[in-house]
Symmetry: C2
Subunit: 331 residues, 2 copies
């Protein structure tokens, strides 16, 4: 273990909390930025995050907590961002420290709505970080199971594989295995697209479709994901690797997935607005659907599932009619 490596996590949600827990198995000190000063005080006093993944206990002596993003960016070399994509731009606006010499990993599953870019592209274009210093940390992984120390496999991707391997030493543990990849574009798109397919699975379930249809939907979903990602960035990848298919399955089959739950409410007849109010949060797949639809206007992949979800969420189409049409496009 390289004690010189200074790694920080930025974000206060459950996935951020899970990553801090993984790092705490290996590092003496972990930088941890979160917006809420209240949450920081709570962690210092009670050794767990008050709002997310509260079953994960921390040794607070390992944590360098701060609600000042500039302090963290100044003092740490490797920055792992786990802030929901919808809030990323606002959060980064506070930043005055340059990121140019930092290694930035995205643990964010989504697209930055203001720029329509996946997170890696956003950092590259807006913060002048070379792609060699940008990476992705992805599942299949429910944060809750990390808290329970259940065996999970993560993928760390970076065009410079050495940087991915370096980070992997500090994430891997008794219950975390790591696969290294150089596909930063494909893994990020997969992490984003799978939320759309999880919404589709939820809508189908809400409409009364069963397990037979769910299996067909996932089988079509992974083929659609492959066509979409190939159009965005052609390279040699196996779409059935855990970072793509595994990530789709862990979300699409999860009854805890916020995206699936959101879709389920839509399928049961809630309007988009009332489903969002009922959940008191916005599922990431909601934004991803719009972004993916717009990207697909340019790349023109054959993507009937994305189109159907878009038409329901943004096109005021009835879920029932739209999915009936969709069933004729699947096989």
């Amino acid at each position: 273990m390289n004690k010189q490596t200074k790694i920080a996590v930025l974000g206060g949600g459950s996935w951020a909390t899970a990553i801090v827990k993984m790092l705490s198995e290996n590092l003496e000190t972990i930088g941890w930025y979160m917006r809420s000063a209240y949450a920081i005080e709570h962690i210092k006093r009670n050794k767990h995050n008050p709002s997310y993944l509260s079953s994960a206990e921390f040794n607070t002596e390992q944590l360098d907590l701060s609600d000042d993003m500039n302090y963290i960016a100044e003092n740490y070399d490797v920055l792992i961002f786990a802030i929901p994509s919808a809030f990323l731009k606002t959060a980064l606006d506070k930043l005055s420290v340059s990121l140019q010499d930092k290694i930035v990993f995205s643990a964010i599953k989504g697209i930055v709505p203001e720029t329509g870019l996946i997170v890696g592209e956003h950092f590259h274009k807006n913060f002048n970080i070379p792609y060699q210093n940008i990476g992705v940390l992805t599942g299949p992984c429910h944060a809750e199971e990390v808290a329970m120390e259940r065996l999970s496999y993560l993928t760390i991707a970076c065009q410079d594989r050495k940087k991915a391997e370096h980070l992997s030493q500090f994430i891997a543990s008794r219950y975390i295995k790591i696969k290294i990849s150089d596909d930063i574009i494909g893994t990020e798109y997969a992490a984003m697209l799978k939320n759309i397919y999880a919404i589709a699975a939820g809508i189908a379930h809400g409409l009364g479709y069963g397990d037979n249809f769910q299996a067909v939907l996932m089988s079509n979903g992974i083929r659609e994901m492959k066509r979409f990602i190939e159009k965005v960035d052609q390279m040699n990848r196996n779409i059935n690797d855990s970072a793509y298919l595994g990530d789709l399955l862990v979300t699409g089959y999860s009854v805890f997935s916020r995206n699936r739950m959101f879709g389920n409410m839509i399928g049961k007849g809630y309007t988009v607005k009332s489903a969002q109010m009922e959940m008191s949060m916005v599922a990431e797949g909601y934004y991803a659907t719009k972004s993916a639809y717009e990207i697909n206007q340019k790349i023109d992949a054959n993507a009937p599932i994305i189109k159907a979800v878009y038409n329901v969420l943004y096109g005021k189409k009835e879920a029932k009619d739209e999915f009936l049409k969709l069933t004729n496009r699947l096989d």
Copy 2:
């Protein structure tokens, strides 16, 4: 609809019953062989199968029921076999009518234990039926959802695609969509192998592995299935089609799957024998594991999941140790 086409189903279980139900949407008369004279009497009186899928109601005027396999084979041109592979040879031993001019479809997910052949090969080699007249009817499909008339997608495969298309007219309905394929070998192996992966999923669950691991197991399972089938029969197929990946998912994620349930008991510490006694039946994947392991001794595909399940079921290895080793072979 071609009223001349005489189609019969052979078998009395839930999948056989579901196929009869699908055909009853389109055909005036369906031949139906089942071993149990008691079940036949019950169906005639009460319009449903007493033991399997009893929620499916039949118009008995459409059913030509018989417990005489020779009568059915004599009088019908297309024979759809849905007898569990473990009992197929014994059942066929009663047959004196030649099958040489029949079109035979297998709706059986497994290998004939006595010959180590998949069902299509068994009919070809032992009944002199040319491959052009042999087909496969496969899922992803829980029979229970057919009874509920929930939308399901089946694949009908035959080297002579016209015969598959012909049968598809009589199976397709409001709630059944059909995909045609010419991959009779690959679809049968997939239907057989998926039961092994369902046992593996059950064992993992029984041992306390969670959803993150399940997603990784399925992702590795479909890659292993691809390697295995390619070694047996190389042809151009998309392993992510519904007949392969969809079928794996509908079984591997089903809490009702007998194979998954069997694995779960093994994972929880039952011996193979006590798990089988507790379930009062033998999960098809139990036989499939031995057959697939033996085939793999010859074809030598990289198949760590099949090997692990074999070592647990037949090699007296502790599930806990064997799966711990397996986790290091997955990614």
